[in-house]
Symmetry: C2
Subunit: 387 residues, 2 copies
């Protein structure tokens, strides 16, 4: 048979991160490649306790078809994260990745223009390609997006939305200053561009103070995406969207035709854990465990690499974005590093144009302190061998 | 703000079935409108037992990110349903509705032609519209699709796939004869058209014998969709796809970019229930409970309506498709019926062209025997009032 796939599929490539995840799962390689939370920290007792209670107290309707937008009690808890927001402005999704998919499905016609940060989240770039979007990238620096470049793109391309990860960005770990945010808000209003604000790592802050979200600065033009995959557990597959009601209605219609609804079982558990404060307490534990890991990686990078690399210490999240300045193409470093027994993600895959890059993304949440020390050492050996 | 949705959304309408579900959930109306299984029959003890075991025996990786195609043990069990099929040809989805979405995403470029049965599943028609597909409909009769009309459509439009529900069809309850299936296979081969075989009700057979699935008659050109929503529980959100490996690979890529993966928790439980034979036993129970409901509805329809309506007794599934021949437009009957306290779905919404129809779809699985008798009586009163 000659299979006649859609054009979007024939131009898509298998996710590089997924390839690395498969590789590192099967070997003794120390992996700084994924974006996985530390499974040892999942609040298992709490999950089990609430699951047991659900079985004891709920009737069989727990397992029946229900509405597409999710469990009301959980939407109420999530609404509290935003100023003046009600549960009608919240919708739950199958992880925040599905939020991205539903936004694309609801807003994008073929060739519509969207703006991304350069670099940006790999799986978002892959998804935008699947929708045959015209993707324009605005440079990102340590204070956030380059707003002069962004304004020019808004003016020249009338994009449907600007996809931004303003806190502890993936892959860079950079965060927008309040000043940058305000300038983005100004130009979003001026050119009527939706801000698609993705904040998966927001709760994982180790230093500094929170700046106001786009969802609160410009609620009428912001679609905010969030997730419990980093704070609770990825397998729960609970993400959310906050947007004006009119947009939530359209997104709900897209959700219904896409997969009718999510499983509500873990949504109920998540709601109970928020109502009781258990999730908030658990998040503090995560921060206490992840901060030393970040610090250990920062220290090891300084110890081994000294001035031969550049990076900014992230205030939170899961990643450090390193400029391996003596290695023009970090894909070559990746090949040597794998042989030494350590993995990371070469920067190239995070750029919309996939250009050759000296950068690399290092994850520290899913390795032990000893593995972090050992992995950075191996990475340095690879770096020396290459230069 | 002027919201700039995609064209697909501005032409989509809120699902009529969802509207009816909302209406009937809030009132004392007897509903023959939905397609809901009987929640009282969910195998709660079995679910709870296996959930407890999972908590006891599995480590925290149970809640970690995992692969996009689903739990291997469950894929192995599902593969056994098809001749000569391995788990590599199976992929799990968030309900079979997501299977439909992923097939569209993977195969459809704008304006691509697809063929549906006339009438067909409402939420599939809605989804195909979302992909801006060119939809052509082939008439359905009690022996299956009109193959002469189908061949003409295959020849004239080179469709990407033919969407078929060959057993206990939705909305009609009709089943393809083996002869019709073989003719469909012949022309699918001749014109190289994929058969998208959706069989959500397959396991719910009350009379007669199973015919061979398209997936077994023409595996190289068939994408088969299945679900545990009707046999186990809808909230588990477990559907599956069986297709040639090359197609499963492409569908998996689409799944990854759409929502990374499903929750695996209930997939593990479902696998355990299949391995132990509990699900198979449970299906027998369902049949024993649903058969009398079908029979009660058939009897009540004969008792009240006598020769003033026409219908074919379905051998299984959840629906009876009634021709209210004295009422040209069953939407009018619906309005009167709601006032009398009974709901059904007017036939119009199941036709691709939404034409006025004298047909209606009646569900019998989610009402008690007494409600079935009472509801049919009310429906007859509405019918008399209208004619």
């Amino acid at each position: 048979m000659q299979t006649k796939f859609a054009k979007r599929v024939t131009t898509a490539s298998r996710s590089f991160t997924r390839t690395i995840l498969d590789l590192t799962a099967q070997s003794s390689i120390i992996s700084f490649a994924g974006g996985l939370p530390d499974a040892a920290l999942f609040p298992r007792d709490s999950i089990e306790k609430h699951a047991k209670k659900l079985f004891e107290t709920e009737d069989n309707r727990l397992f029946q078809y229900s509405n597409a937008s999710g469990v009301e009690a959980l939407k109420v808890e999530i609404a509290k994260k935003y100023v003046g927001t009600t549960s009608a402005e919240i919708m739950l999704t199958n992880g925040s990745q599905q939020g991205l998919d539903l936004v694309c499905k609801t807003f994008l016609d073929e060739k519509d223009c969207i703006i991304v940060e350069d670099p940006s989240y790999l799986a978002a770039l892959g998804l935008f390609h699947m929708y045959n979007a015209t993707i324009k990238a605005a440079p990102l620096n340590a204070n956030g997006v380059d707003t002069v470049a962004l304004e020019a793109l808004f003016r020249d391309y009338s994009p449907k939305f600007f996809y931004t990860i303003p806190i502890f960005q993936n892959p860079t770990g950079y965060s927008y200053t309040l000043e940058t945010r305000k300038e983005v808000v100004r130009i979003a209003k001026k050119y009527n561009v939706i801000l698609l604000e993705d904040s998966p790592y927001e709760a994982l802050r180790y230093d500094g103070t929170q700046t106001t979200a786009f969802a609160d600065l410009l609620p009428e033009l912001t679609i905010a995406l969030g997730t419990f995959s980093k704070t609770l557990a990825p397998d729960f597959r609970i993400g959310w969207m906050r947007a004006p009601k009119e947009i939530i209605s359209a997104l709900t219609l897209s959700k219904e035709s896409t997969d009718l609804q999510n499983s509500k079982f873990f949504q109920h558990i998540c709601a109970k854990m928020m109502q009781s404060g258990e999730l908030q307490e658990h998040t503090k534990t995560l921060i206490q465990c992840y901060r030393p890991k970040r610090d250990a990686m920062v220290k090891a990078l300084h110890t081994y690499f000294k001035d031969s690399i550049e990076f900014i210490v992230p205030e939170g999240g899961m990643f450090i974005w390193v400029n391996f300045k003596k290695c023009d193409d970090s894909m070559k470093l990746f090949d040597v590093a794998i042989k030494k027994g350590v993995a990371f993600v070469p920067g190239s895959v995070f750029f919309a144009d996939k250009r050759i890059s000296s950068y690399g993304r290092l994850n520290y949440t899913n390795s032990s302190l000893a593995q972090i020390e050992e992995g950075v050492k191996k990475l340095y050996e690879a770096y020396v061998e290459l230069s």
